[in-house]
Symmetry: D2
């Protein structure tokens, strides 16, 4: 852990006055090790039993009151310390991705082929947020700061939408400001959004018949799929150009000589605005209904992931920008630089972007193409977010390169940038009620009288096995 | 008229015993001239004013009681003589086809380019049937035969469905046996059927928008058409193989830079059985509804032609077969042969089939690809039909070659085969109640408990301008 | 084996004069037991190791010269006795079908779920043909009949096309008449044909891209499939109505958020005439090429099953009809009747047809919807075929009901009808050179100067693992 | 002409020092009257005989050397004065739009229904540019300014692409800076672009056949169109989101009972970058080829309009901005205000935007959805353009409202803003070689080494009758 000590030293000069950073540094090695432990036992969405337990146990050990198994999800939990207003929340994720098993090496190398891996760096995400709340709590305790700091252990971000069920369960209602971060290839705060998305399985049920002897007796479920998809293709011209619609045919019939009695398509739509997306989705459903109507088949829909876009929060972006400038970036050690150089060779046509020593806090409003249930949170409570440089510049999430970085010291250094930024921002908010108020105002302004809606029904059960089917 | 005299002579030897044939022969030249007159003033469906008047006038002059302007159609009429049972009906048509203007010459030559012409020989059809009823009436009168002979002047067979409105008006209810014939290239009686057909215009109404500036605001009517037609194409696999479905896009949008607010498709479906066709048509309608549903456009349907298949009548086929054998065929004169030889050169890849001297009365059950409202009559009353050789062997209906034959002596000789056959068969039926009863039984057997249905609503008005739009 | 003894007795009275039938009876139990043994170890196409060995061993033991592992197929063999002309061939099949595991009981009951089963009765097919050649050989030997009797052990009829490779290898060139039979639900000889078929996998290769972030960089393999299939649907209107085209999408992309880099469709086309089918197939290939062209993907085709229709042989149908009338049908025992009655309850809306005591030898020319590589044989040498009632009336091939019958005494009684018919017909042919000549003439007449073609290249290797992928 | 005098007075105070503006004012009434004369005789593209003659005659009378009938277009011309460098070009258009006949009244009122009208204000465009070059020439003469001022009389901007043929003919090669303007609803200079577009007719030729009797003999041209368009729809996902593709089916078959032997689609594609559009168009052509391939029809393409996007010129935008600020806007008279108020009532849901007194010269870079052959000019020589407020705020081009404004004093006041701006800018350029050099540099920078391409072949003849078919 030489590199982390080195970092702590170099950081010391910059913000010695901030005790909370000293506290982060004190726990850095320990939570770095926890992140590595989670990385070594990658668990898919809603099955993060070890990862969740480990984090709960650490927070309990640090004096947090933990509520486990909340909102119908065995791996969801909250952990809080303090009482009363304001309530500052920090979110942590810890689920892995299927098929991304990777050693912490700069070339593709499975730990176990086909097994899950932390290609989105959620091992760092959950651990840095936990490290942050521990440091914040110590600082609050030390200085007698009033209020509640609360950690949200949010499972199954990768498609399961754990946060949505926590919203439905009322677990976020009293939050004044929610902070979140995500592993990335730069240290950056901006006002960018993400795409809202919605998806699921349209299943068509027809009537089988021998395709040579009696095709007229059959009603082809595949015909239903194809008519639907033809209509969807024609829809593309008549939706806003920022829309994305994409699909795969997950079942296209069983045998060529039988009229298919079953067929299935998995379709996802996205748009930068969740409410506009809702209208587009209604039209996709009409295409599916049309497919069933014309082919005389029956159509059923199984709701999949539905995430809102992220409503940026201008006030919290300011708070986080200041915090990140204070938190600072980091330098690669010679060893890390060699790792990064080797890894970069596997990236084609990718501009590297700024390095980990840089902090980027422009207020640009680009729309990222990713989607997250953090978006849904941002429609419910004032939410501020940022990225920390846990991946080598140019590395995209959901790749083996990301998984490799998430398991080594580069990931752990990036995770410290996140923990420092979160800690500084939270303490800032606790001490400045005006900022908390501004965050609420920014929230209301972006909401502009609109209301969050989701296609995940309030009384629906989490699809606990969505990731392992 | 040399050829017709010749024919009368040759015929005399064959069936001198049959007075009714002598009567046919006596009127042959006159009604031949009438057929030519109608041929010279070709009139489209529901606009056969001169043709209908001329026939009415002739029948009136021969003592028939004429009811003009029946069933909401100015050119429809009935003309009857006698009273009481049995009631024998004979149908006559007289409408022309658009664009088939043709001189009575063996090479393509317009009388007037683009004008209508008698490419289906209905000038002969209406005239031969009129000639027949006149001869029958004279024979009935002479012999004191009881019963009613009735001529049906049925307009707009080419798509207008005049007979259907006459059925709806109850004008055929009391008929014991209906006889009909059609110009063709052979003299033949068989048990063949025809295809039932149904068709019309599906119109889609969307929302126009500038296709470059605001395509998302538009709802494309052409999308509606294309989704419908894609679904129709998929339907083909799942209907009986004898089905035919064909269409043209009659309006595919007005300008490429505007999202089409209107689009239209003209579609026809056919099947050898009208009731099965009904079920298929319902599915086509679903395809159209699906097109509207998926494209968020509105769909309207304008009913077009809907003709039932012909239910063969086994007993009447026997009666007609005997009659046609007695009636006999005819020979070409040298001049006619030369005409036929020249005409044949314009026919490619067409087997000529038997000549006009032949009479074919097998009981084969081939399904012709044509459709006629005579089919609807056959579902309502016992109906027997046949073809007479008015066209040179190998000539198909709806061609300039057919129009050319319909205007010359070949057509008129063929028309006499028809008139003789009809006369003999009707007299046969009047004199043999058992045959009338057998016709009824054959009818019931083929009907097999089923009921005629039509998509032309009983209270709908004939589309009097369908042919001139 | 009570029922079989019973049968042998009852048969004895009918055709005692025919020694060859006595010989069949003598081996009946033994080959019945062999059929049961094959039924108990169902093996998929090209993997019929036990089944093929067992039959080879029996034929060897009966004095036949066996050539194993012929034409590149380990389970293909020939077994012959005698020498010189004429050469009479009898074909035997022995492959099972996937997923049709079934006990010999009149209700659905797996031996092992998902395992193969003899749902097409090939255990009987191969065994009856073997029984026949043994009886024929004994009869030839006894009477000093000249010529060659040859058994063709033809593997993988269910899609693998073993016979085609045997034709390519020249193994059938010298055959004067080929006899074959197939298990069915009636005893019948007719001039019916079967559909020629052709099929295979069209694979499309595109360029993957993130479907939300960079869809314009992707080239969708699924688009290739869908454009191809849309074109195929439009083709339906413009091929002869007897054509069948059916498909399933065997790979429709891997994940909805990735532009599919791979997609695959399995498509089969059929028509009563192999040469017309060839032309239709060329047009399907054009549709696939169009899909690749328009989507900028690459298309590859893997040839699957390609079977010709069966050319009926009028002379051999006569020979077989006479033989089958002599061979006679059979009666169910009380036990078998009970089995049949129970089984019938599982068949819905199926007319049972005539029972096993009946022999049907009309010369009707219906086109069966099945396809077989026996069709290819019939384009190469005079081939006569028939069905024997091994299944309860109304039972279709490729069902659990067929598999159940194939394993019990009903199947074995039906198999004896086949063995008797084959034996009588072969002896007839050996003794009547005129009939052999007539078979050749019938063959030439049906061929009408045309030549067999196949899409299975002469130098291609059998797809030995086609059934186990 | 009261209002124009009023304007001249009010303007006098603002820029008395600028003699060129005095010169513009001196000719204002005369060229206003010319614009009205052209408005009263609206002529379609390439048929602007009177309009072109009138402008040529005026320029000749003012001492310009006119070359008529250039580049194969009878109504194209150039008119120049002076000699040597720099060469400053000013473009004028004068073609009308079909169907936009409109009186100069604030409610829809045809002069002649269905006749053309100046719905794009080109009567003003050509006249203001002519007025400008006359004033510039007088100023050059008065001050002894060196260089060449050249008017480009460019016909058929509305789809005919007159400028492209002038480029091909080399008529613009020596231009140092080209100035152009367009009637609009605001006075504005910006760096906005326009969409490049390309379009034309894809014609499919198949084989007709009776759709009921012999559909298998037909090859449907409409199938070709539909397969092509299905492929085009699938293309949408895989082109940049700014792309537009839109089409109408201009011929979808002639009669529903005949397999269509001919079908036609008119398709247009657009993109902000002409070179990217080229690549997209190649893919559309592949879709058309795929349609022909799969349907076994023949495809032909007739090139239609192909316009490049406009390359903004930063230096000329500066020059024009300064000039327009000097030129100033104008006020409505009471009468004009009343006209404007009435007209506005016919506009629904349209934000009016700033009034004619305002001058907008931000450097925003919005992409307009219109397309023009001025875009092609901008890829060949440094080209600066702007809008003048000839239409009531909120009025869009190609509407009756625009045609109404183009014929009255509002249009003529707006035209003077244009003439003043052009005059000031041209004199500025003549006197400042550095600005001419900067214009060239801006041009090279935007070109970035790329080269103009067009699908209008250099040796192709203008489609002189494109507008009157």
């Amino acid at each position: 852990m030489r590199s982390i000590l080195l970092l702590a030293c170099s950081a010391a000069g910059l913000f010695a006055a901030d005790d909370v950073l000293t506290r982060v540094a004190a726990h850095a090695d320990h939570f770095g090790a926890i992140s590595r432990q989670i990385w070594e036992t990658p668990e898919l969405g809603f099955h993060e039993n070890k990862s969740s337990s480990l984090l709960q146990q650490e927070l309990k050990a640090n004096g947090f009151a933990v509520k486990a198994d909340v909102a119908g999800m065995p791996t969801a939990f909250t952990a809080e310390w303090g009482s009363g207003k304001p309530v500052i929340g920090i979110m942590g994720e810890f689920d892995a991705l299927p098929g991304l098993s990777q050693k912490s090496e700069p070339m593709q190398a499975f730990v176990q082929e086909g097994a899950p891996g932390h290609g989105c760096g959620h091992n760092l995400l959950g651990s840095a947020s936990a490290l942050a709340v521990v440091a914040i709590k110590e600082e609050m305790q030390a200085r007698g700061i009033k209020g509640t700091i609360r950690y949200y252990g949010t499972p199954a971000e990768e498609g399961g939408g754990g946060k949505i069920y926590m919203i439905h369960a009322g677990l976020m209602k009293d939050v004044d400001a929610m902070l979140e971060w995500h592993p990335g290839s730069t240290n950056s705060v901006n006002l960018g959004s993400m795409l809202a998305n919605n998806g699921g399985l349209f299943r068509f049920y027809g009537v089988a018949a021998h395709a040579a002897a009696a095709p007229a007796r059959g009603r082809s479920a595949l015909d239903g799929v194809m008519i639907m998809l033809h209509a969807v293709e024609m829809l593309r011209e008549h939706v806003p150009q920022e829309t994305r619609i994409h699909y795969v045919i997950t079942n296209g019939g069983s045998a060529a000589n039988i009229v298919p009695a079953f067929a299935e398509v998995n379709i996802i739509a996205r748009h930068p605005d969740a409410l506009i997306l809702n209208g587009i989705w209604d039209r996709i459903v009409k295409c599916a209904q049309a497919g069933a109507l014309a082919s005389e088949t029956r159509m059923e829909f199984e709701q999949g992931t539905n995430y809102a876009n992220r409503l940026p929060n201008d006030a919290l972006a300011e708070v986080l920008s200041r915090a990140m400038h204070k938190a600072g970036g980091y330098q690669y050690s010679a060893e890390e630089q060699a790792f990064a150089d080797t890894l970069r060779k596997s990236l084609q046509d990718v501009a590297p972007g700024p390095g980990p020593e840089t902090v980027n806090t422009d207020k640009s409003t680009s729309v990222g193409m990713a989607s997250s249930d953090a978006g849904d949170v941002s429609w419910n409570v004032p939410t501020g977010g940022f990225n920390a440089a846990t991946f080598v510049p140019g590395v995209a999430a959901h790749t083996w390169q990301a998984a490799a970085c998430a398991g080594n010291s580069i990931g752990r250094k990036g995770m410290l940038v996140a923990a420092r930024t979160l800690s500084l921002a939270a303490i800032d908010l606790f001490q400045n009620p005006a900022e908390v108020k501004a965050a609420r105002e920014s929230f209301e302004k972006r909401l502009a009288g609109r209301k969050w809606t989701t296609r995940i029904a309030p009384d629906s059960k989490p699809r606990l096995n969505y990731a392992v089917r």
